[in-house]
């Protein structure tokens, strides 16, 4: 019988995935929020069903529509029983969402130092309606948050692409521009692949670049409307 087992932590190392989702009123048009909800649900379901992992995939969703709030607190994907669809309303307080994300990553009670470095995904279709500068810098330069892998997607032609570009730190996958609902799905499929590839590898702390599936690979043709944003 093992004498050392009693000293060993009986939970897997976490790999946190934090989604910052724009849920402002403009997301309610052209099926954007519906596409986002569907893509998020699929990502969570894939994470929950993944085996052969070297980490416990944990997901949190922070929304910013009217106010910024934690829609889904950080939790193991396989423990998420249902995902409440995100409503779309109000302005775009992206700065407050950055603040929530930075606080989450710096919190060592929530994300212990044995965790693999987090992945932060920013999705937005518009311009921030609050001051993003201080919280953006806190997220970019925080002792722990600066180490996160960051992916970004701008939805439609009104997205603040320069800010999203500054946010993303994957050199091989700069900010992704979604022109229709299918692109939202492709982006989250790529994020899902990147995370699961990482978590299966012998080096789960190394970022895996986003590889966007081709349009034909991403979904059957009747799954999403072709309407451009």
């Amino acid at each position: 019988m093992s004498k050392l087992k009693q000293f060993q932590i009986q939970s897997a190392r976490p790999l946190p995935i934090i989604v910052l989702a724009d849920t402002s009123a403009s997301m309610s048009t052209d099926g954007k929020i519906e596409a986002l909800n569907k893509a998020l649900k699929e990502m969570i379901n894939t994470f929950a069903s993944e085996s052969r992992l070297r980490a416990e995939l944990q997901v949190s969703v922070i929304t910013f529509g009217g106010v910024a709030s934690v829609h889904l607190p950080l939790i193991a994907a396989h423990q998420i029983e249902s995902f409440e669809p995100l409503p779309a309303t109000g302005g775009t307080p992206m700065g407050s969402a950055f603040q929530l994300a930075a606080g989450m990553i710096e919190d060592q009670e929530l994300i212990p130092s044995r965790a693999y470095k987090p992945v932060v995904v920013l999705v937005s279709d518009g311009h921030p309606t609050d001051d993003t500068k201080p919280s953006f810098e806190a997220l970019m330069n925080g002792e722990r948050s600066s180490k996160a892998t960051r992916f970004a997607m701008g939805i439609g032609s009104d997205a603040e692409l320069s800010l999203l570009g500054d946010f993303a730190n994957d050199l091989e996958a700069p900010v992704f521009k979604a022109e229709n609902a299918r692109d939202i799905h492709r982006f989250f499929k790529a994020v899902t692949m990147s995370v699961t590839t990482r978590s299966r590898s012998t080096t789960p702390n190394q970022s895996t670049p986003l590889e966007l599936p081709s349009v034909s690979d991403s979904e059957s043709n009747d799954e999403f409307e072709e309407l451009d944003f």
Binding site: K3, F7, Q10, R54, I111, S113, R114, K117, T203, P204
Partner: protein
């Protein structure tokens, strides 16, 4: 005054799955006047890190022999190790990156040790247990390496094993990241007690089995541990 040393290293499930070599190296070496031990963890992302970690472990032995632990500080030995390792790789260390934890104990119980990178260096001296490794605030598997380390990245220890049960214990992060922080001293004790009631060979076999049966869910890393204890 009597000292005993032990050590073990096992390939982690992730490397077994990918048919890759153990990237850790462990050293347990008797010296003319005591013991030296080391554990080095080659970076998983580097192709030849298993060779880099083995080289570092071997150089610790030769560095201590060459300099003499009696006359040189833990800092001097660590910096000489770093220089010798870089020289041996012609100053091209990138594919060989590794962490390094080492300790030596002479026949008077004088301990010297150093650490750069992930893992844990534990010491009990005069019955007082100390975690030499500073707390790290980042994330798992993000480590400083032997080639990149500045002086400020090193941790050093110099003390005396003055009581029975004192000792020094080193381990790579494949072990240390999965230990309950409040249980480090009982863990240290468990290894000491096993070594005291068996011998180096049997203790190594016991450690091999314990590490092979590691119970943390989804663990994947290689695991290495080495220690020197005062047993009488």
């Amino acid at each position: 005054m009597r000292f005993a040393a032990t050590g073990s290293s096992v390939v982690g499930p992730a490397h077994q799955q990918d048919n890759r070599p153990n990237q850790d190296a462990v050293l347990v070496q008797g010296m003319r006047k005591g013991w030296c031990v080391a554990v080095c963890d080659g970076l998983g992302s580097r192709q030849l890190s298993h060779k880099g970690s083995q080289l570092a472990a071997n150089l610790i032995r030769s560095t201590i022999r060459c300099l003499g632990a009696d006359d040189f500080s833990a800092k001097a030995i660590s910096l000489r190790l770093q220089k010798d390792w870089l020289d041996a790789l012609n100053q091209c260390p990138s594919p060989y990156e590794t962490t390094s934890l080492w300790a030596s104990v002479d026949d008077y119980g004088q301990v010297k040790g150093g650490q750069v990178g992930d893992g844990l260096l534990l010491v009990r001296s005069a019955g007082r247990f100390v975690v030499v490794t500073p707390e790290h605030s980042g994330f798992g598997n993000q480590t400083q390496t032997l080639s990149q380390a500045k002086l400020s990245d090193w941790s050093f220890v110099e003390t005396t094993l003055s009581q029975v049960g004192d000792g020094v214990l080193l381990m790579t992060d494949g072990i240390s990241d999965d230990l309950i922080p409040e249980q480090l001293e009982p863990f240290f004790d468990a290894v000491y007690r096993q070594l005291k009631r068996t011998n180096k060979r049997r203790c190594k076999a016991w450690l091999n089995q314990e590490l092979a049966e590691w119970s943390t869910p989804l663990h994947g890393d290689d695991k290495s541990i080495a220690g020197i204890f005062r047993t009488e």
